[in-house]
């Protein structure tokens, strides 16, 4: 599918506009970065201005915030949750440890480099990123959505084998049910 701005139909434009301004963030604090999420959502920073609000279950969510390092145990849950989300879906990697392991680069239980396992739209670096950084990350995501470039859900589905092989390298006992897709 072409994703040039020129080839976007008016429907896509409207759809992207709505998607951009309505980002439901899955309530999943995977790591310590979750501590800045309340601050981002509440009065001083107020992410709801941008249409960002929480969603309780993956079915309703658009954005998966990986708030920091992922332990292998959490990775398994994250994959499951990510696969239960509905397209278009976005992933924001939050904090340096999602980029390259950060200070946990030598830990036996945390992954280094989130995008090997699930596609990441935006990385926000810092440890931990301030609410301003979080919001700027979201704004970046909004720009990508508007440009029609945030289609990682499809990418994941198309390159499922690649991601699966990477995931299976880490998760030793792959007991995932096969109804995931």
């Amino acid at each position: 599918m072409e994703n040039d701005k020129n080839s976007q139909k008016i429907v896509d434009y409207i759809g992207n506009f709505a998607r951009k301004h309505s980002l439901f963030v899955l309530a999943y604090g995977t790591g310590c970065g979750a501590i800045e999420i309340p601050a981002t959502m509440t009065s001083r920073y107020d992410a709801e201005r941008f249409g960002i609000r929480g969603a309780a279950t993956p079915r309703q969510a658009d954005v998966l915030l990986i708030t920091g390092y992922l332990s292998t145990k959490t990775l398994k849950r994250v994959i499951r949750v990510y696969e239960q989300m509905q397209e278009p879906k976005y992933v924001i990697g939050f904090g340096s440890c999602t980029v390259n392991g950060g200070m946990y680069y030598d830990s036996y239980n945390t992954i280094n480099g989130l995008d090997q396992y699930i596609p990441v739209d935006v990385y926000i670096n810092g440890c931990m990123p301030r609410p301003e950084a979080v919001i700027s990350g979201f704004v970046k995501l909004q720009e990508l959505i508007m440009a029609g470039k945030a289609n990682n859900g499809e990418k994941y589905r198309e390159n499922l084998e690649h991601y699966r092989s990477n995931q299976k390298k880490i998760i030793k006992n792959w007991k995932m049910p096969d109804y995931n897709w």
């Binding site: 079915r59 949750v81 397209e87 995931n180």
Partner: protein, 619 residues
């Protein structure tokens, strides 16, 4: 030969034939039973007109058969449901034992009910009443020893009812010199001027069958323990025999009572109304804590009968009409629901809702029938159940001064949503588990009657006038003044209406539009997934973990309504129930505990009454 005799003879000989043929070819027993009842229905609806009568004498007692417009209403229920239930029995009883016993008693029960409808004198009425009781008792204990106790309880209560009825009949003869029902009414047997006990005794007799509190104790177990194919007419049609009697007595009381005695009637109305209301509430809140689908439906039946009695007790046109309409519709949907449970029992092997779940994909047609029936049961538009409920409420609000009864009924019917959902969820929704993987849809002979009933519910919702017509005739017969009815418009006395055509139209249009929209839109991206693919917080449940919420379904409600469960119910049920249980035990010590002795006992009692009627009931 007279048509009435012909019908009764066909039924009796059908019963005999089924019983005998069972030794030779057990498989065709069901077909014969179905054929018999179907033939009788056909003959009845084509050959019999209301007003036909036939008189004859049995010994010295003059007897009369006939069909009044009023009993015609009940004939519809009995024959319609009887035919479908016998068809359903073919599939349901397949592979079970003692088929001859079952079908013979099944036909006999229908015979009893038809006989009751035909009877225009008290003697034949009572005889058929006893045939009905007796054969149904034999079916309650069909499953064997476990149900003996339950059957006993049923019998004891039936006996109480029978004695009360018999006493009333004999004293009618003694005081008014007639066995003829119409004559007795004309002579003012029910007019509360003197012998007030006569209508009350009769009512006691009838309320036992109609399972009105406090005489309902037998019902939950008897309904749930008999074969489901039978329960569908047991609850759907046979309980209506009680309603038939109550309606007759009450209507006569309203019509023939003098002004000076009207207070008694009012008191009776209030008593019956509140008893009906309390029955409805209590049975409802007990229905919603049941885990067995059969028992849930059994309690629900009691509650629904409570509404009908409330309707009758209003004594107003709309109220009685609502009651009779509800009686028919209840017959339809409760018959269908018991058939649904029977299908589930047959296919899965249990009806314990904590053990089964997620049958919707396995048994889609059964689910459809259950859904339609439950919507009717809950009184949600646009099905037949709503029509009845609507008229009942309007009657209570517009034509009775009993405003708080409205609230009681409303409470009960709102709480009915709870058990309705429990029923649907317990059997059909929730997780699809491995242990029900082998389940298939019920056989076609079971599906057809259920489907017919479901369609009937929709038709009665769209065109309630179909049923209003016979009901209106019946009410004219009972002495109610001109009854307003329209094919598909419900009107109350204040002139407000609910137009079923518009309601159906609106629902239909929106349904088509939205369903099409949802189905077409994003068709490619829409996926149907299994019930294991749910968000469990990212965890993957292991196989032995139970993800269906089944135990103590309405715990919060139970907690909120704890006083209702504790105080009143414990007092009324336990004291009464235990006392009656004790009575059961006591009587069992005296008698051997089977139906024959009971029959003998009733006959002896009858003989004694007849012999000593002059001394006992002399003026």
């Amino acid at each position: 030969m007279n048509i009435f005799f012909l019908l009764i003879t066909i039924l009796f000989s059908g019963a005999l034939l089924v019983f005998l043929i069972n030794k030779v070819a057990p498989k065709i027993g069901g077909i014969i039973a179905f054929a018999t009842i179907a033939l009788v229905s056909f003959l009845f609806f084509t050959q019999v007109d209301t007003g036909d009568t036939y008189q004859f004498t049995l010994g010295e007692i003059p007897m009369q058969f006939g069909v009044t417009p009023y009993t015609y209403i009940f004939a519809i229920i009995v024959l319609g449901l009887g035919t479908l239930a016998s068809l359903y029995s073919i599939g349901y009883m397949q592979g079970k034992k003692r088929l001859g016993y079952y079908y013979a008693n099944f036909i006999l029960t229908v015979t009893g009910m038809i006989g009751i409808i035909f009877s225009q004198d008290f003697i034949s009425f009572f005889i058929f009443w006893e045939i009905m009781t007796w054969s149904s008792y034999l079916l309650v204990i069909y499953t064997g020893h476990k149900s003996q106790n339950i059957g006993m309880k049923y019998m004891i209560f039936s006996a109480i009812g029978a004695y009360a009825m018999l006493t009333a009949i004999v004293s009618i003869k003694a005081n008014y010199g007639t066995y003829n029902i119409a004559d007795a009414i004309q002579n003012g047997a029910f007019n509360f001027s003197e012998h007030m006990y006569i209508p009350i005794m009769l009512l006691i007799g009838f309320t036992v069958k109609a399972a009105l509190m406090p005489l309902h104790v037998w019902a939950p177990n008897a309904y749930s323990k008999s074969p489901m194919a039978f329960t569908s007419i047991f609850s759907g049609a046979m309980s209506k025999m009680g309603i038939l009697g109550i309606g007759l007595v009450l209507a006569s009381a309203y019509s023939y009572t003098d002004h000076e005695n009207v207070n008694y009637v009012v008191a009776l109305r209030y008593t019956l109304g509140w008893l009906g209301g309390i029955t409805a509430v209590m049975a409802t809140i007990y229905a919603l804590i049941q885990t067995d689908a059969k028992k849930l439906l059994a309690y629900s039946s009691i509650a629904q009968l409570g509404y009908i009695i409330v309707g009758l007790s209003t004594g107003s046109e709309l109220g009685v009409m609502a009651a009779l309409f509800l009686a028919i519709v209840h017959g339809i949907f409760k018959g269908a629901l018991f058939m649904v449970v029977g299908a589930v029992e047959k296919q899965v092997g249990t009806t314990d809702m904590t053990k089964i779940s997620g049958l919707i994909r396995k048994m889609p047609f059964t689910f459809f029938v259950a859904l339609v029936s439950i919507i009717a049961l809950a009184g949600i538009p646009p099905l037949g159940g709503f029509v009845g409920k609507w008229m009942l409420y309007e009657a209570l609000i517009t034509e009775s001064n009993n405003y708080f009864l409205v609230i009681v009924i409303f409470f009960s019917s709102t709480a009915a949503f709870l058990y309705s959902y429990r029923f649907l969820f317990g059997l059909f929704l929730g997780q699809e588990e491995k242990d029900t993987e082998h389940v298939k849809e019920a056989p076609i002979t079971m599906i057809i009657p259920m489907m017919i009933l479901a369609i009937l519910l929709m038709v009665t919702g769209a065109f309630p006038g179909i049923l209003f017509e016979p009901i209106a005739h019946g009410m004219h017969y009972l002495g109610f003044s001109d009854v307003n009815w329209d094919m598909s418009i419900l009107v109350n006395v204040w002139g407000e209406e609910s137009n079923m055509t518009y309601i159906n139209l609106s629902i239909g249009i929106v349904f088509v539009a939205i369903f099409a929209f949802l189905t077409i839109k994003g068709y490619k991206g829409t996926k149907n997934v299994g019930t294991k693919d749910i968000s469990t917080g990212g965890e993957i449940p292991t196989e032995n973990e139970n993800l269906t919420y089944q135990m103590d379904f309405f715990k919060p409600f139970e907690r909120a309504a704890a006083p209702l469960y504790k105080r009143s119910m414990n007092k009324i049920w336990n004291d009464l129930g235990n006392a009656l249980e004790a009575l059961t035990d006591f009587i069992r010590k005296i008698y051997s505990g089977n139906g024959q002795t009971y029959a003998l006992f009733v006959v002896i009692f009858l003989v004694i009454l007849l012999l000593f009627k002059d001394t006992l009931f002399a003026n």
